[in-house]
């Protein structure tokens, strides 16, 4: 049933390779453009302060075993005290911070720019692919798929008896879109790949971040049980020395 179509090498030379090359180049270009366009915001004092408080609280949680119980308790009250504890954010104020952040024009412009720099190259490339490269079989994907994928993968091809493995260039575009993410993370170094989903998650969570993480830290400190590790240290040193001497 699977007749083996032999595809012209000209297709490979003039469709597949240029499309991939163009996508890689556009990715690189977008990376540099986003680097240039990133407007440097002066860090807000309040936000930095809250970040540092969170860091201190985290260190306290992690190293609770090293300080005696009384100092731990006093630090804990300092952080979680209802009236003036650092981590306690009254409800009204929390909402306000988020609303203010979203209406702040600078931040909104930044997010818009990042969004656009994601969406525009993708749209343009997709339109280009559709215009120039439609109506013929572009590639053969190596694994068999069911008939239901036919409408998705063989968009420009109007023959209904051709095997579903022979796809149009639109699906080659999508294959490239997903497959080149890994390549980008190798070339552009350190996760600057096309993580558009990650970036969108990051952006939507940005307004919430300060107040929610503060209350999260507060809960964490409230939960923790203090267990002083120092009395055990002598025993542990003895064990370690014994192991060395064996």
């Amino acid at each position: 049933m699977a007749e083996d179509l032999v595809l012209d090498t000209a297709i490979r030379d003039w469709v597949l390779v240029p499309l991939s090359v163009v996508m890689v180049l556009i990715g690189v270009l977008r990376y540099f453009v986003s680097k240039l366009m990133r407007s440097h915001q002066a860090p807000d004092l309040k936000v930095v302060k809250e970040g540092q408080v969170i860091l201190r609280a985290r260190n306290l949680r992690a190293a609770a075993g090293f300080i005696p119980a009384k100092s731990f308790r006093s630090r804990k009250t300092y952080f979680t005290n209802e009236e003036n504890g650092l981590l306690h954010v009254p409800k009204g104020q929390a909402q306000n911070a988020q609303a203010q952040m979203f209406s702040d024009p600078n931040l909104a412009m930044d997010m818009m720019k990042k969004n656009l720099s994601m969406i525009i190259p993708q749209t343009l490339t997709f339109a280009w692919v559709n215009f120039f490269f439609s109506g013929f079989v572009a590639a053969k994907i190596p694994f068999p798929l069911t008939q239901r994928f036919r409408g998705m993968l063989q968009n420009g091809i109007d023959l209904s008896t051709v095997d579903v493995s022979y796809v149009s260039s639109r699906s080659w575009y999508f294959l490239n879109l997903f497959g080149l993410r890994g390549l980008f993370s190798l070339i552009l170094g350190e996760e600057n790949a096309m993580d558009d989903t990650q970036r969108m998650m990051q952006m939507s969570g940005f307004g919430f971040d300060p107040s929610r993480s503060l209350s999260a830290e507060k809960d964490g400190i409230d939960i923790i049980q203090h267990e002083w590790a120092l009395p055990k240290m002598e025993k542990r040193a003895e064990d370690a020395l014994k192991k060395l001497l064996k």
Binding site: V6, K140, P142, P144, G179, G182, A229
Partner: protein
Amino acid sequence: MAREGDRGASGGAEDDPPIFNAENLQSNIKSIHYSRTFLSIIGGVIAGIWGFTGLTGFIFYFLVMAAASFGLAAKAKFSICTYFDSWNRIFLDGIFGGLMSFVLFWTYPLKTTFW
């Protein structure tokens, strides 16, 4: 992939609650990610040149990933807890991300159509 010596992620002072040096852990995870991505690309090209199709190709991919996991475990001298926080990091992380790159580079040199 220098992950010896100074890259140990867990502190030696505690063995009940393990403390992780976040920076080293992060860098170890990154090096796993890079090596997996690279291997999936190369594996894709190899699978295409050798002409694997269908299920064989996927089995080849998982074989390559398993070999990569084994190599990484061997490099970490099989004591995972000094370098990572859990076994799952080495074995499962990045497998499905690499799958897409594998398929992309597998389609390129496929023998039955273009050569």
